[in-house]
């Protein structure tokens, strides 16, 4: 016996079934709620080592450095320069600028020098929407210095910005 499904029922099944399928796709991909980054506490007694740890946290969180922009230890076609070894490389990037000055310039005025082969695109991260504070900038610089170099930044370091 041939089972005949009425047209309206078929239409409802098609609409509900297709919508359910697309909704199911949404359930099987990785799920993550993205909350605004929690405030990072930087206290006056923090050492350079402490700042490195805070800087690493900022790079993966509020600073959005490692969320699709830079990488550490990758090669091949990259969106922006890989940061591996930047702590040692920084002092030789621009003549006349120390490593610390170069890193500070990269964060406050990223368009001032573009690494050859890469496009301009980074925005000053002390401004909205990232809006890192001066102490947070120092922590990020300490972390960058630790990538292949020796971190020297303390909270008393003057960045000149």
């Amino acid at each position: 016996m041939k089972l005949s499904v009425p047209m309206p029922v078929r239409l409802v099944l098609l609409v509900v079934g297709t919508t359910a399928f697309y909704m199911y796709l949404g359930q099987i991909v990785p799920q993550r709620e993205a909350h605004p980054p929690p405030p990072v506490l930087i206290s006056a007694e923090m050492t350079t080592e402490d700042l490195v740890a805070v800087g690493a946290e900022l790079a993966s969180g509020k600073g959005q450095c490692l969320v699709g922009c830079h990488t550490v230890g990758q090669s091949g076609p990259l969106r922006y320069p890989d940061l591996d070894g930047i702590g040692a490389r920084a002092a030789t990037q621009i003549e006349g600028l120390s490593g610390l000055e170069y890193l500070a310039q990269s964060l406050y005025e990223p368009a001032a020098f573009i690494v050859p082969g890469f496009a301009d695109g980074m925005q000053p991260i002390d401004q909205p929407p990232i809006s890192l504070s001066e102490d947070e900038m120092k922590a990020v610089i300490a972390w960058l210095q630790s990538l292949g170099g020796t971190p020297t930044v303390t909270l008393d370091t003057e960045l000149g910005y």
């Binding site: 919508t19 697309y22 796709l25 949404g26 550490v72 076609p77 925005q123």
Partner: protein
């Protein structure tokens, strides 16, 4: 008759249920504890009437509420909550429903006008009828758009008063023109619809033209409001160094500096272009779904033929608009990147990267659905078998492109996973997720679909052009060259730096667009006056093709809901990006699972309402009601008098 009895029975049951409920409620209230009447009367005489515990409780509660209300100082609310659903979801659903109907109302006049114009030029009445059939859908949809627009406005004012007030501070000068244009749109829309056949063709075409102009202007104003939230400023070379600078339309505190910069902001024009094209694709697909709905209801061959043709035209409009849509999408995405790398990377590489995997599945389904419909359509024509051998190759090409497009470059990863991978991308698969591979995939998808359309167009036709072999070879060379160029740049992109790689998208896009134009230009004279090896049998297409049309419309709607979410969600915890922070409990980006649930519910509501629109629009074609006569077997006489 049975149906009437069932309805009558349900009515009686409902009536009895209401009576029983009211009586039961009355019984419960009446049997509440009361002091004996004599005791009350005695107490009242002595001036010491006592309240029952319940009455005393009510009086105390009222007094406490009043005292609290008097003690509470007036505070301007920043946010208000909606129980269970939440403010954000409420506004989200209302905005999406308003947008879906608005997109349809803006798109249908555009292609109805074009079809009417074609009919006017070709002097063929069938085009005029088709345009009218499309326009029938507008009247109810326009009311739906306005209704959900009002809901959305009230929703924003009530639930987000402070933020809405801020937007009013920026854009209040645009409100009066908006309202006036809306009034004009109503005027042109109803005169265009009700004036069909009442005005001369030129006058009627003018009304259609004005309807489109006014509708587009309304959309441009509304687009300024929403794009300002994403990019509150414009781009201009202020310092004369040849590099465009960002000129903010507001101060750091959010005060308006320039309405012009707020209106003509960074992403305004890309959104305008993207929306016009997307609206036409969406409107075409919904109109095709309407035709499919009517086809499935049709009783006669004539009706089937008419609605089959209407569905074909609607789908044709949708696909023609859909082909350049990825280019418009890339233009919009590139402008978002240019405005803010952070926004751009959030979109493609951060929280939303997996959303584009779902988008790829939707677009893949749309391409497959469109191709499937065209392949089925070949069966309408005699001689269709000749081309069907190419279909499997097209299917393979489409499936491969689909797979590449669905591969994400960046995955959502934990901190330890990021550390293990040295970044947020997979060491091997991320190669397929890069722009080079994706641009290549989408361009080949477009070329494949266009090839399907070409095969469909040739089915059952034989060119009589004297240089038909030469022209056909020229088309093949253009097509192959475009495909080769796209693949070449796609592969070469892996061996150059990122700045050069990004620029490769331009020759890829231009080569495909040029191929589409050149092949079409050759095809028109090539198949002019072509001989027909068989008749096109409109209405002779498998019913499954009509379900394919509805599937395409559904996928388009779902896609619009998803992309609407990403466009708005990109701002994350900002109401106005970098200016007004969202401090409500909803200031976070929900999971994709939750977002797709909201999109799905919205789509189901929209399709439910669309069913009402289709039903109301189809009433126009039904016979007028007439009372039954004795001769018909009814129990009433003509004129409605009792027998």
């Amino acid at each position: 008759m049975n149906r009437n009895r069932i309805l009558f029975g349900i009515g009686v049951l409902a009536f009895i249920s209401v009576i029983v409920t009211v009586r039961l409620g009355g019984f419960l209230v009446d049997n509440e504890y009361r002091q004996p009447d004599r005791q009350v009367a005695a107490q009242e005489e002595q001036g010491e009437a006592e309240l029952t515990p319940r009455q005393q409780g009510i009086v105390d509660e009222q007094a406490a509420d009043e005292a609290e209300a008097r003690a509470r100082p007036y505070e301007e609310a920043e946010y208000r909550a909606v129980p269970f659903v939440g403010s954000r979801v409420t506004v989200w659903v209302l905005a999406q429903l308003h947008l879906l109907f608005a997109a349809f109302v803006l798109a249908v006049p555009l292609f109805a006008f074009i079809i009417e114009f074609v009919g006017y030029v070709k002097k063929e009445e069938r085009y005029n009828k088709l345009a009218y059939e499309f326009t029938k859908l507008l009247s109810v949809s326009f009311s739906m758009t306005a209704t959900f627009g009002a809901f959305l406005t009230f929703g924003l004012i009530i639930l987000y008063p402070k933020f809405t007030n801020y937007l009013m501070h920026i854009f209040s000068p645009t409100f009066l023109p908006y309202v006036l244009l809306f009034f004009l749109e109503a005027l042109f829309l109803y005169s265009y619809y009700y004036g069909w056949g009442k005005f001369g063709p030129k006058m009627h075409l003018f009304l259609g033209f004005m309807l489109n102009i006014v509708g587009t202007a309304i959309m441009f104003i509304a687009n300024a409001w929403l794009t300002f939230m994403m990019s509150p400023g414009r781009r201009d070379d202020v310092d004369g160094d040849g590099v465009p600078d960002f000129v903010s339309a507001v101060s750091e505190s959010g005060a308006l500096l320039s309405l012009r910069d707020a209106f003509f902001n960074f992403t305004w024009m890309p959104i305008n272009i993207h929306r016009i094209i997307a609206n036409v694709a969406f409107g075409g697909s919904i109109a095709a779904a309407y035709a499919a709905f009517r086809y499935l209801q049709a009783k006669t061959d004539e009706e089937k033929a008419h609605f089959d043709w209407m569905g074909y035209v609607g789908n044709f409009v949708a696909i023609i608009a859909f082909l350049p849509l990825p280019f418009a999408g890339y233009y919009l995405a590139a402008e978002i990147y240019a405005f803010s790398q952070t926004l751009g990377i959030q979109m493609m590489g951060g929280t939303f990267s997996w959303l584009f995997v779902i988008q790829a599945a939707l677009i893949g389904n749309l391409f497959l659905g469109a191709n499937y419909y065209l392949w089925l359509g070949m069966g309408r024509m005699e001689g269709g078998v000749h081309f069907q051998k190419f279909i499997k190759w097209l299917l393979i090409a489409i499936a491969l492109c689909f797979a590449v497009w669905a591969t994400p470059r960046y995955a959502i990863s934990s901190v330890s996973e990021i550390a293990a991978m040295g970044g947020s991308s997979h060491p091997q698969l991320s190669y397929l997720g890069q722009m080079s591979a994706k641009n290549t995939a989408v361009n080949i998808l477009i070329l494949s679909t266009y090839m399907s359309f070409l095969l469909y167009r040739r089915t059952g036709r034989q060119s009589v052009h004297p240089h038909r072999q030469l022209l056909t070879r020229a088309q093949a060379i253009v097509f192959s060259s475009a495909a080769a160029l796209v693949i070449f740049y796609g592969v070469y992109g892996y061996f150059v730096d990122s700045a050069t790689r990004i620029r490769f998208a331009i020759p890829q896009v231009y080569s495909v667009l040029a191929a589409l134009v050149v092949i079409t230009v050759i095809d028109l004279p090539l198949y002019r006056n072509a001989t027909q090896s068989g008749e096109t049998k409109w209405g002779k297409i498998p019913a499954v093709s009509q379900y394919a049309l509805i599937f395409i419309a559904l996928s388009f709607t779902w896609l619009m809901g998803l992309m609407g979410y990403v466009r708005s969600g990109l701002r994350q915890e900002w109401h106005v990006y970098g200016v007004v922070l969202d401090t409500s409990p909803d200031a976070y980006t929900p999971t994709l699972g939750f977002a797709t649930q909201v999109v799905s519910v919205t789509v189901l509501i929209f399709f439910g309402l669309l069913g009402v629109v289709f039903w109301l629009s189809s009433l126009g074609g039904k016979k007028d009601w007439e009372p039954k006569t004795v001769a018909d077997g009814g129990d009433r006489l003509e004129g409605g008098q009792a027998a």
